[in-house]
Protein backbone atom coordinates (compact mmCIF):
# COMPACT_ATOMS: atom_id res chain seq x y z
CA UNK A 1 0.00 0.00 0.00
CA UNK A 2 1.43 3.35 -0.92
CA UNK A 3 2.18 5.20 2.22
CA UNK A 4 1.81 8.93 2.27
CA UNK A 5 3.86 9.41 5.37
CA UNK A 6 7.01 7.66 6.38
CA UNK A 7 6.07 6.62 9.87
CA UNK A 8 7.02 2.96 9.88
CA UNK A 9 6.48 2.29 13.49
CA UNK A 10 2.85 3.21 13.88
CA UNK A 11 1.38 2.92 17.30
CA UNK A 12 -1.07 0.06 17.80
CA UNK A 13 -3.93 2.53 17.90
CA UNK A 14 -3.03 4.21 14.63
CA UNK A 15 -2.41 0.79 13.03
CA UNK A 16 -5.92 -0.22 14.04
CA UNK A 17 -7.39 3.02 12.74
CA UNK A 18 -5.48 2.89 9.47
CA UNK A 19 -7.19 -0.39 8.62
CA UNK A 20 -10.58 0.70 9.87
CA UNK A 21 -10.80 4.03 8.09
CA UNK A 22 -10.27 2.55 4.61
CA UNK A 23 -13.89 1.50 4.28
CA UNK A 24 -13.60 1.76 0.50
CA UNK A 25 -11.02 -1.03 0.43
CA UNK A 26 -12.57 -3.51 2.80
CA UNK A 27 -16.13 -2.92 1.69
CA UNK A 28 -15.17 -3.40 -1.96
CA UNK A 29 -13.17 -6.54 -1.15
CA UNK A 30 -16.15 -7.93 0.77
CA UNK A 31 -18.54 -7.24 -2.10
CA UNK A 32 -16.16 -8.81 -4.58
CA UNK A 33 -15.90 -11.90 -2.39
CA UNK A 34 -19.62 -12.39 -2.75
CA UNK A 35 -20.11 -11.29 -6.33
CA UNK A 36 -17.23 -13.42 -7.60
CA UNK A 37 -18.40 -16.49 -5.73
CA UNK A 38 -21.70 -16.39 -7.60
CA UNK A 39 -20.42 -14.98 -10.84
CA UNK A 40 -21.00 -17.97 -13.05
CA UNK A 41 -24.18 -19.12 -11.38
CA UNK A 42 -27.71 -18.64 -12.67
CA UNK A 43 -29.23 -16.52 -9.96
CA UNK A 44 -26.14 -14.94 -8.46
CA UNK A 45 -26.23 -13.79 -4.84
CA UNK A 46 -29.97 -14.41 -4.83
CA UNK A 47 -29.02 -17.98 -4.01
CA UNK A 48 -28.12 -16.73 -0.55
CA UNK A 49 -31.72 -15.75 0.07
CA UNK A 50 -33.24 -18.78 -1.60
CA UNK A 51 -31.21 -21.39 0.23
CA UNK A 52 -31.93 -19.79 3.59
CA UNK A 53 -35.59 -19.47 2.65
CA UNK A 54 -35.77 -23.15 1.81
CA UNK A 55 -34.25 -24.10 5.16
CA UNK A 56 -36.61 -21.91 7.18
CA UNK A 57 -39.63 -22.91 5.15
CA UNK A 58 -38.80 -26.59 5.52
CA UNK A 59 -37.88 -26.60 9.19
CA UNK A 60 -40.66 -24.36 10.45
CA UNK A 61 -43.73 -26.56 10.11
CA UNK A 62 -41.78 -29.75 10.87
CA UNK A 63 -40.22 -28.57 14.13
CA UNK A 64 -43.38 -26.81 15.22
CA UNK A 65 -45.27 -30.09 15.13
CA UNK A 66 -42.31 -31.99 16.66
CA UNK A 67 -42.21 -29.61 19.61
CA UNK A 68 -45.94 -29.42 19.78
CA UNK A 69 -45.94 -25.63 19.52
CA UNK A 70 -48.26 -23.39 17.58
CA UNK A 71 -46.72 -22.45 14.24
CA UNK A 72 -47.64 -18.76 14.48
CA UNK A 73 -45.68 -18.51 17.71
CA UNK A 74 -42.82 -20.74 16.64
CA UNK A 75 -42.16 -19.66 13.09
CA UNK A 76 -40.84 -16.15 13.80
CA UNK A 77 -38.72 -17.54 16.62
CA UNK A 78 -37.20 -20.18 14.36
CA UNK A 79 -36.71 -17.87 11.39
CA UNK A 80 -34.87 -15.24 13.38
CA UNK A 81 -32.97 -17.93 15.25
CA UNK A 82 -31.63 -19.46 12.05
CA UNK A 83 -30.91 -16.09 10.43
CA UNK A 84 -29.06 -14.62 13.39
CA UNK A 85 -27.28 -17.85 14.20
CA UNK A 86 -26.15 -18.04 10.60
CA UNK A 87 -24.61 -14.62 10.98
CA UNK A 88 -23.01 -15.22 14.38
CA UNK A 89 -21.63 -18.64 13.58
CA UNK A 90 -20.57 -17.66 10.08
CA UNK A 91 -18.69 -14.63 11.33
CA UNK A 92 -16.89 -16.57 14.05
CA UNK A 93 -15.74 -19.40 11.80
CA UNK A 94 -14.86 -17.06 8.91
CA UNK A 95 -12.79 -14.87 11.21
CA UNK A 96 -10.44 -17.75 11.89
CA UNK A 97 -9.18 -17.47 8.35
CA UNK A 98 -9.19 -13.70 7.86
CA UNK A 99 -5.43 -13.41 7.73
CA UNK A 100 -4.64 -16.76 6.15
CA UNK A 101 -6.87 -15.86 3.22
CA UNK A 102 -5.16 -12.49 2.88
CA UNK A 103 -1.65 -13.96 2.83
CA UNK A 104 -0.86 -12.69 -0.64
CA UNK A 105 -1.69 -9.15 0.43
CA UNK A 106 0.15 -9.28 3.71
CA UNK A 107 3.27 -10.72 2.12
CA UNK A 108 3.69 -8.06 -0.49
CA UNK A 109 3.23 -4.77 1.28
CA UNK A 110 2.37 -3.26 4.58
CA UNK A 111 -1.31 -3.70 5.23
CA UNK A 112 -2.93 -2.92 8.55
CA UNK A 113 -4.37 -6.28 9.55
CA UNK A 114 -7.63 -4.77 10.79
CA UNK A 115 -8.50 -4.21 7.14
CA UNK A 116 -9.04 -7.93 6.71
CA UNK A 117 -10.98 -8.33 9.92
CA UNK A 118 -13.43 -5.69 8.67
CA UNK A 119 -13.56 -7.36 5.27
CA UNK A 120 -14.66 -10.68 6.79
CA UNK A 121 -17.23 -8.95 8.97
CA UNK A 122 -18.56 -6.86 6.08
CA UNK A 123 -18.92 -9.95 3.92
CA UNK A 124 -20.97 -11.64 6.62
CA UNK A 125 -23.11 -8.53 7.09
CA UNK A 126 -23.88 -8.50 3.37
CA UNK A 127 -24.89 -12.17 3.55
CA UNK A 128 -26.98 -11.38 6.61
CA UNK A 129 -28.76 -8.63 4.68
CA UNK A 130 -29.69 -11.20 2.06
CA UNK A 131 -31.16 -13.38 4.80
CA UNK A 132 -32.96 -10.95 7.08
CA UNK A 133 -35.37 -9.93 4.32
CA UNK A 134 -36.89 -13.40 4.70
CA UNK A 135 -38.19 -12.38 8.10
CA UNK A 136 -40.55 -9.82 6.64
CA UNK A 137 -43.04 -12.30 5.11
CA UNK A 138 -42.78 -14.49 8.22
CA UNK A 139 -43.54 -11.58 10.54
CA UNK A 140 -46.46 -10.47 8.39
CA UNK A 141 -47.89 -13.97 8.28
CA UNK A 142 -47.61 -14.40 12.06
CA UNK A 143 -49.13 -10.94 12.67
CA UNK A 144 -46.21 -9.77 14.76
CA UNK A 145 -46.94 -6.39 16.27
CA UNK A 146 -43.89 -4.30 17.03
CA UNK A 147 -43.67 -1.71 19.73
CA UNK A 148 -41.10 1.07 20.02
CA UNK A 149 -39.01 -1.40 22.01
CA UNK A 150 -38.19 -3.00 18.68
CA UNK A 151 -35.76 -0.15 18.09
CA UNK A 152 -33.55 -1.73 20.72
CA UNK A 153 -32.42 -4.12 18.05
CA UNK A 154 -30.19 -1.37 16.66
CA UNK A 155 -27.99 -0.88 19.74
CA UNK A 156 -27.97 -4.66 20.06
CA UNK A 157 -26.71 -4.96 16.51
CA UNK A 158 -24.07 -2.35 17.17
CA UNK A 159 -22.89 -4.29 20.22
CA UNK A 160 -22.73 -7.36 18.07
CA UNK A 161 -20.56 -5.62 15.48
CA UNK A 162 -18.17 -4.42 18.17
CA UNK A 163 -17.90 -7.92 19.61
CA UNK A 164 -17.60 -9.56 16.22
CA UNK A 165 -14.74 -7.27 15.29
CA UNK A 166 -12.84 -7.72 18.56
CA UNK A 167 -13.38 -11.47 18.56
CA UNK A 168 -12.50 -11.71 14.90
CA UNK A 169 -9.25 -9.91 15.51
CA UNK A 170 -7.91 -12.01 18.36
CA UNK A 171 -9.34 -15.26 17.06
CA UNK A 172 -7.80 -14.56 13.66
CA UNK A 173 -4.41 -14.04 15.32
CA UNK A 174 -4.60 -17.29 17.28
CA UNK A 175 -5.85 -19.30 14.33
CA UNK A 176 -3.05 -18.05 12.10
CA UNK A 177 -0.45 -19.23 14.60
CA UNK A 178 -2.16 -22.50 15.56
CA UNK A 179 -3.91 -23.83 12.52
CA UNK A 180 -5.94 -26.48 14.29
CA UNK A 181 -7.80 -23.94 16.42
CA UNK A 182 -10.00 -23.28 13.39
CA UNK A 183 -11.25 -26.86 13.57
CA UNK A 184 -11.79 -26.56 17.30
CA UNK A 185 -13.85 -23.41 16.79
CA UNK A 186 -15.98 -25.06 14.11
CA UNK A 187 -16.69 -28.00 16.42
CA UNK A 188 -17.58 -25.71 19.30
CA UNK A 189 -19.95 -23.68 17.14
CA UNK A 190 -21.67 -26.84 15.95
CA UNK A 191 -22.16 -27.94 19.52
CA UNK A 192 -23.39 -24.51 20.60
CA UNK A 193 -25.97 -24.50 17.85
CA UNK A 194 -27.86 -27.11 19.78
CA UNK A 195 -27.16 -25.74 23.22
CA UNK A 196 -28.38 -22.27 22.27
CA UNK A 197 -32.11 -21.64 21.80
CA UNK A 198 -31.80 -21.32 18.03
CA UNK A 199 -34.47 -23.86 17.22
CA UNK A 200 -36.06 -24.55 20.57
CA UNK A 201 -37.96 -22.14 22.78
CA UNK A 202 -36.19 -21.06 25.98
CA UNK A 203 -39.41 -21.21 27.94
CA UNK A 204 -39.51 -24.96 27.37
CA UNK A 205 -36.31 -25.31 29.36
CA UNK A 206 -36.76 -26.82 32.83
CA UNK A 207 -35.80 -24.51 35.68
CA UNK A 208 -32.71 -26.40 36.75
CA UNK A 209 -31.17 -26.10 33.27
CA UNK A 210 -31.48 -22.32 33.05
CA UNK A 211 -27.70 -21.90 33.17
CA UNK A 212 -27.53 -23.09 29.58
CA UNK A 213 -28.91 -19.69 28.65
CA UNK A 214 -25.88 -17.96 30.12
CA UNK A 215 -23.67 -18.58 27.12
CA UNK A 216 -22.87 -15.26 25.40
CA UNK A 217 -24.32 -16.40 22.09
CA UNK A 218 -27.65 -17.19 23.71
CA UNK A 219 -27.66 -13.77 25.33
CA UNK A 220 -26.76 -12.08 22.06
CA UNK A 221 -29.52 -13.98 20.31
CA UNK A 222 -31.96 -12.86 22.95
CA UNK A 223 -30.98 -9.20 22.47
CA UNK A 224 -31.37 -9.40 18.73
CA UNK A 225 -34.35 -11.66 18.33
CA UNK A 226 -36.76 -10.67 21.08
CA UNK A 227 -37.26 -7.01 20.05
CA UNK A 228 -38.07 -8.11 16.53
CA UNK A 229 -40.78 -10.40 17.83
CA UNK A 230 -42.46 -7.61 19.78
CA UNK A 231 -40.91 -8.52 23.11
CA UNK A 232 -38.25 -7.17 25.41
CA UNK A 233 -34.92 -8.84 26.01
CA UNK A 234 -34.09 -9.58 29.62
CA UNK A 235 -31.81 -7.27 31.58
CA UNK A 236 -29.69 -10.32 32.36
CA UNK A 237 -28.82 -10.57 28.69
CA UNK A 238 -27.87 -6.89 28.40
CA UNK A 239 -25.59 -7.06 31.42
CA UNK A 240 -24.09 -10.33 30.29
CA UNK A 241 -23.28 -9.03 26.83
CA UNK A 242 -21.83 -5.79 28.15
CA UNK A 243 -19.56 -7.86 30.38
CA UNK A 244 -18.49 -10.05 27.49
CA UNK A 245 -17.86 -6.97 25.36
CA UNK A 246 -15.39 -5.64 27.89
CA UNK A 247 -13.59 -8.98 28.10
CA UNK A 248 -13.49 -9.22 24.33
CA UNK A 249 -12.04 -5.77 23.86
CA UNK A 250 -9.39 -6.27 26.53
CA UNK A 251 -8.23 -9.61 25.10
CA UNK A 252 -8.25 -8.15 21.62
CA UNK A 253 -6.22 -5.10 22.63
CA UNK A 254 -3.60 -7.21 24.41
CA UNK A 255 -3.10 -9.70 21.59
CA UNK A 256 -3.23 -7.05 18.87
CA UNK A 257 -0.63 -4.91 20.52
CA UNK A 258 1.71 -7.85 21.00
CA UNK A 259 1.34 -9.74 17.76
CA UNK A 260 0.15 -7.36 15.06
CA UNK A 261 3.54 -7.28 13.37
CA UNK A 262 4.28 -10.98 13.85
CA UNK A 263 1.27 -12.27 11.95
CA UNK A 264 3.04 -12.09 8.61
CA UNK A 265 5.72 -14.46 9.93
CA UNK A 266 3.04 -17.03 10.72
CA UNK A 267 1.52 -17.15 7.25
Amino acid sequence: MSQVHSNLHRSAWSDWWEGTRRTDIWWTLAWFDIVLRYRRSMLGPLWLTLSMGAMIGGMGPLYASLFGTELSKFFPHLALGIIFWGFLSGTVTDSCNSFVNAAHYLRQGYFPITLFVWRTLARNVIQFAHHIVLYIPVALWAHISLSWDALLVFPAFLLMIVNAHALGLWLGLICTRYRDVTQIVTSIMQMLMFLTPVFWLPENLPGRAQYILWNPLAQMLDLLRTPLMGGEASLHSWLGILGWTVVNIVVCALLFRKYRRRVVYWL
Binding site: M1, S2, Q3, V4, S6, L8, D24, I25, T28, L29, F32, L36, R39, R40, H104, Y105, L106, R107, Q108, G109, Y110, F111, R177, Y178, R179, D180, V181, I184, R261, V264, Y265, W266
Partner: protein, 254 residues
Amino acid sequence: MSAFISLKDVSVSFPIYGAGAASLKKTLAASVTGGRFGKETGVTVVQALSNLNIELKAGDRLGLVGHNGAGKSTLLRTLAGVYEPTAGQFRRQGSVTSLIDPALGIEADATGMENIMLRGLVMGLSKREIDRKTPDIVEFSGLGQYIDMPVRTYSTGMMMRLAFSISTSVNADILLMDEWLSVGDAEFTEKAELRMREVVAGSGILVLASHSPKLIEKECNKVIHLSHGKIVGATDVPEEIPAFMEAAGIVVAA
Protein backbone atom coordinates in the same frame (compact mmCIF):
# COMPACT_ATOMS: atom_id res chain seq x y z
CA MET B 1 11.14 16.02 1.91
CA SER B 2 13.18 13.80 -0.32
CA ALA B 3 13.16 10.06 -0.30
CA PHE B 4 15.75 8.04 1.54
CA ILE B 5 16.28 4.52 2.80
CA SER B 6 18.61 3.68 5.63
CA LEU B 7 19.42 0.26 7.04
CA LYS B 8 21.86 -0.04 9.93
CA ASP B 9 22.82 -3.56 11.02
CA VAL B 10 19.45 -4.86 9.97
CA SER B 11 18.71 -8.54 10.43
CA VAL B 12 15.58 -10.48 9.63
CA SER B 13 15.02 -13.96 10.96
CA PHE B 14 12.12 -16.27 10.29
CA PRO B 15 10.61 -18.79 12.60
CA ILE B 16 9.77 -21.82 10.48
CA TYR B 17 7.01 -23.83 11.99
CA GLY B 18 7.08 -27.49 11.18
CA ALA B 19 3.70 -29.10 10.76
CA GLY B 20 3.76 -29.90 14.45
CA ALA B 21 4.46 -26.45 15.78
CA ALA B 22 1.48 -24.99 14.02
CA SER B 23 -0.76 -27.30 15.99
CA LEU B 24 -2.02 -26.25 19.41
CA LYS B 25 -2.65 -29.86 20.35
CA LYS B 26 0.93 -30.92 19.66
CA THR B 27 2.38 -27.93 21.44
CA LEU B 28 0.31 -28.71 24.53
CA ALA B 29 1.22 -32.40 24.36
CA ALA B 30 4.87 -31.47 24.16
CA SER B 31 4.72 -29.22 27.19
CA VAL B 32 2.94 -31.88 29.21
CA THR B 33 5.20 -34.79 28.27
CA GLY B 34 8.40 -32.83 28.71
CA GLY B 35 9.15 -32.50 25.06
CA ARG B 36 9.46 -36.18 24.40
CA PHE B 37 6.49 -36.28 22.11
CA GLY B 38 7.04 -32.83 20.83
CA LYS B 39 9.96 -33.17 18.50
CA GLU B 40 7.93 -31.88 15.60
CA THR B 41 6.98 -28.78 17.49
CA GLY B 42 10.52 -27.45 17.32
CA VAL B 43 10.70 -24.06 15.76
CA THR B 44 13.64 -23.65 13.42
CA VAL B 45 14.88 -20.13 13.01
CA VAL B 46 16.24 -19.14 9.64
CA GLN B 47 18.47 -16.10 9.45
CA ALA B 48 17.29 -14.59 6.19
CA LEU B 49 19.24 -11.33 6.38
CA SER B 50 22.22 -10.55 8.60
CA ASN B 51 23.67 -7.20 9.53
CA LEU B 52 22.82 -5.24 6.43
CA ASN B 53 24.05 -1.70 6.10
CA ILE B 54 22.60 0.19 3.17
CA GLU B 55 22.14 3.90 2.60
CA LEU B 56 20.12 5.14 -0.36
CA LYS B 57 19.19 8.68 -1.22
CA ALA B 58 16.98 10.31 -3.84
CA GLY B 59 18.13 9.40 -7.35
CA ASP B 60 19.80 6.13 -6.39
CA ARG B 61 18.98 3.06 -8.40
CA LEU B 62 20.14 -0.03 -6.58
CA GLY B 63 20.55 -3.41 -8.18
CA LEU B 64 20.37 -6.53 -6.02
CA VAL B 65 22.13 -9.61 -7.32
CA GLY B 66 22.79 -12.99 -5.82
CA HIS B 67 22.00 -16.66 -6.03
CA ASN B 68 18.50 -18.01 -5.57
CA GLY B 69 17.61 -17.86 -1.91
CA ALA B 70 20.23 -15.22 -1.12
CA GLY B 71 17.67 -12.93 0.44
CA LYS B 72 16.86 -10.51 -2.39
CA SER B 73 13.10 -10.87 -2.11
CA THR B 74 13.27 -10.83 1.67
CA LEU B 75 15.20 -7.56 1.52
CA LEU B 76 12.64 -6.09 -0.85
CA ARG B 77 9.85 -7.13 1.45
CA THR B 78 11.62 -5.65 4.43
CA LEU B 79 11.97 -2.38 2.51
CA ALA B 80 8.26 -2.55 1.71
CA GLY B 81 7.43 -2.88 5.37
CA VAL B 82 6.15 -6.45 5.29
CA TYR B 83 8.75 -7.85 7.69
CA GLU B 84 9.77 -5.80 10.64
CA PRO B 85 13.52 -6.28 11.16
CA THR B 86 14.34 -8.46 14.14
CA ALA B 87 17.46 -6.39 14.78
CA GLY B 88 18.95 -3.14 13.66
CA GLN B 89 17.52 0.18 12.59
CA PHE B 90 15.46 0.74 9.49
CA ARG B 91 14.33 4.16 8.40
CA ARG B 92 12.54 5.01 5.22
CA GLN B 93 10.95 8.12 3.82
CA GLY B 94 8.75 8.41 0.77
CA SER B 95 5.78 6.65 -0.75
CA VAL B 96 6.38 3.08 -1.83
CA THR B 97 5.14 1.14 -4.82
CA SER B 98 6.09 -2.47 -4.60
CA LEU B 99 6.13 -4.66 -7.66
CA ILE B 100 7.37 -7.70 -5.82
CA ASP B 101 4.35 -9.78 -6.62
CA PRO B 102 2.60 -8.52 -9.71
CA ALA B 103 -0.34 -10.83 -9.14
CA LEU B 104 -1.14 -9.11 -5.86
CA GLY B 105 -4.82 -8.52 -5.40
CA ILE B 106 -5.63 -9.90 -8.82
CA GLU B 107 -8.88 -11.82 -8.67
CA ALA B 108 -8.96 -14.41 -11.41
CA ASP B 109 -12.71 -14.36 -11.95
CA ALA B 110 -12.97 -10.58 -12.08
CA THR B 111 -12.53 -8.67 -15.32
CA GLY B 112 -9.49 -6.55 -16.13
CA MET B 113 -11.47 -3.39 -15.39
CA GLU B 114 -12.61 -4.69 -12.01
CA ASN B 115 -9.05 -5.66 -11.18
CA ILE B 116 -7.88 -2.14 -11.98
CA MET B 117 -10.34 -0.91 -9.38
CA LEU B 118 -9.32 -3.58 -6.85
CA ARG B 119 -5.61 -3.11 -7.24
CA GLY B 120 -5.91 0.65 -7.32
CA LEU B 121 -7.81 0.62 -4.03
CA VAL B 122 -5.25 -1.67 -2.48
CA MET B 123 -2.53 0.72 -3.61
CA GLY B 124 -4.18 3.51 -1.70
CA LEU B 125 -5.99 5.41 -4.45
CA SER B 126 -9.53 6.69 -4.07
CA LYS B 127 -12.29 5.56 -6.40
CA ARG B 128 -12.30 8.90 -8.20
CA GLU B 129 -8.55 8.79 -8.82
CA ILE B 130 -8.85 5.27 -10.16
CA ASP B 131 -11.63 6.26 -12.57
CA ARG B 132 -9.47 9.09 -13.83
CA LYS B 133 -6.41 6.90 -14.39
CA THR B 134 -8.25 3.95 -15.92
CA PRO B 135 -8.13 5.05 -19.61
CA ASP B 136 -4.35 5.55 -19.39
CA ILE B 137 -3.88 2.23 -17.66
CA VAL B 138 -5.92 0.40 -20.27
CA GLU B 139 -4.03 2.08 -23.06
CA PHE B 140 -0.61 1.36 -21.59
CA SER B 141 -1.39 -2.28 -21.01
CA GLY B 142 -2.29 -2.76 -24.63
CA LEU B 143 -4.92 -5.32 -23.76
CA GLY B 144 -7.64 -3.78 -25.88
CA GLN B 145 -10.95 -5.59 -25.64
CA TYR B 146 -9.54 -8.17 -23.28
CA ILE B 147 -9.82 -5.63 -20.51
CA ASP B 148 -13.47 -6.58 -20.11
CA MET B 149 -12.76 -10.30 -19.96
CA PRO B 150 -12.13 -12.20 -16.74
CA VAL B 151 -8.45 -12.24 -15.88
CA ARG B 152 -8.38 -16.03 -15.83
CA THR B 153 -8.57 -15.91 -19.62
CA TYR B 154 -5.32 -13.96 -19.81
CA SER B 155 -1.94 -15.39 -20.54
CA THR B 156 0.74 -14.87 -17.90
CA GLY B 157 2.30 -12.13 -19.97
CA MET B 158 -0.99 -10.29 -20.33
CA MET B 159 -1.55 -10.44 -16.60
CA MET B 160 1.92 -9.03 -15.95
CA ARG B 161 1.21 -6.19 -18.36
CA LEU B 162 -2.01 -5.38 -16.55
CA ALA B 163 -0.40 -5.53 -13.13
CA PHE B 164 2.54 -3.44 -14.26
CA SER B 165 0.31 -0.83 -15.86
CA ILE B 166 -1.78 -0.43 -12.77
CA SER B 167 1.12 -0.36 -10.37
CA THR B 168 3.11 2.19 -12.30
CA SER B 169 0.22 4.54 -12.89
CA VAL B 170 1.14 6.22 -9.65
CA ASN B 171 4.39 8.09 -9.25
CA ALA B 172 6.24 6.71 -6.32
CA ASP B 173 9.19 7.97 -4.37
CA ILE B 174 10.44 4.42 -3.91
CA LEU B 175 9.90 1.65 -6.43
CA LEU B 176 10.71 -1.93 -5.46
CA MET B 177 10.91 -4.53 -8.18
CA ASP B 178 11.58 -8.23 -8.15
CA GLU B 179 12.62 -9.26 -11.62
CA TRP B 180 9.85 -10.53 -13.75
CA LEU B 181 10.03 -8.02 -16.56
CA SER B 182 11.36 -10.72 -18.83
CA VAL B 183 7.89 -12.22 -18.98
CA GLY B 184 6.65 -9.50 -21.27
CA ASP B 185 7.46 -9.44 -24.98
CA ALA B 186 10.24 -7.22 -26.32
CA GLU B 187 7.93 -4.36 -27.21
CA PHE B 188 6.37 -4.27 -23.79
CA THR B 189 9.68 -4.66 -21.99
CA GLU B 190 10.90 -1.51 -23.73
CA LYS B 191 7.77 0.40 -22.74
CA ALA B 192 8.09 -0.93 -19.21
CA GLU B 193 11.69 0.17 -18.82
CA LEU B 194 10.79 3.66 -20.02
CA ARG B 195 7.89 3.79 -17.60
CA MET B 196 10.08 2.52 -14.80
CA ARG B 197 12.48 5.40 -15.35
CA GLU B 198 9.64 7.91 -15.49
CA VAL B 199 8.15 6.67 -12.27
CA VAL B 200 11.37 7.01 -10.40
CA ALA B 201 12.28 10.19 -12.29
CA GLY B 202 14.93 12.34 -10.70
CA SER B 203 13.86 12.29 -7.12
CA GLY B 204 12.99 8.68 -6.54
CA ILE B 205 14.74 5.53 -5.45
CA LEU B 206 14.65 2.29 -7.38
CA VAL B 207 15.57 -1.05 -5.89
CA LEU B 208 15.66 -3.81 -8.45
CA ALA B 209 16.43 -7.46 -7.83
CA SER B 210 17.56 -9.18 -10.97
CA HIS B 211 19.52 -12.05 -12.49
CA SER B 212 20.04 -10.13 -15.70
CA PRO B 213 23.36 -8.27 -15.88
CA LYS B 214 22.21 -6.24 -18.86
CA LEU B 215 19.22 -4.89 -16.99
CA ILE B 216 21.32 -3.99 -13.97
CA GLU B 217 23.99 -2.32 -16.07
CA LYS B 218 21.35 -0.33 -17.90
CA GLU B 219 19.26 0.81 -15.00
CA CYS B 220 21.35 0.93 -11.86
CA ASN B 221 24.01 3.19 -10.44
CA LYS B 222 24.76 0.99 -7.41
CA VAL B 223 24.86 -2.76 -7.00
CA ILE B 224 24.83 -5.02 -3.97
CA HIS B 225 25.71 -8.70 -4.10
CA LEU B 226 23.88 -10.79 -1.54
CA SER B 227 24.82 -14.28 -0.53
CA HIS B 228 23.10 -16.30 2.20
CA GLY B 229 21.61 -13.14 3.65
CA LYS B 230 24.84 -11.17 3.86
CA ILE B 231 26.32 -8.46 1.68
CA VAL B 232 29.44 -9.97 0.11
CA GLY B 233 30.14 -7.17 -2.31
CA ALA B 234 28.94 -3.73 -3.24
CA THR B 235 29.82 -0.96 -5.59
CA ASP B 236 28.47 2.51 -6.06
CA VAL B 237 30.56 3.50 -9.03
CA PRO B 238 28.41 3.02 -12.16
CA GLU B 239 31.44 2.51 -14.45
CA GLU B 240 32.67 -0.39 -12.37
CA ILE B 241 29.38 -2.26 -12.46
CA PRO B 242 30.14 -4.56 -15.44
CA ALA B 243 33.44 -5.60 -13.89
CA PHE B 244 31.77 -6.08 -10.53
CA MET B 245 29.11 -8.28 -12.04
CA GLU B 246 31.71 -10.43 -13.77
CA ALA B 247 33.74 -10.79 -10.62
CA ALA B 248 30.59 -11.75 -8.76
CA GLY B 249 30.11 -14.55 -11.23
CA ILE B 250 27.00 -13.13 -12.80
CA VAL B 251 27.48 -13.47 -16.50
CA VAL B 252 25.13 -13.26 -19.40
CA ALA B 253 23.73 -16.65 -20.26
CA ALA B 254 25.21 -17.54 -23.63
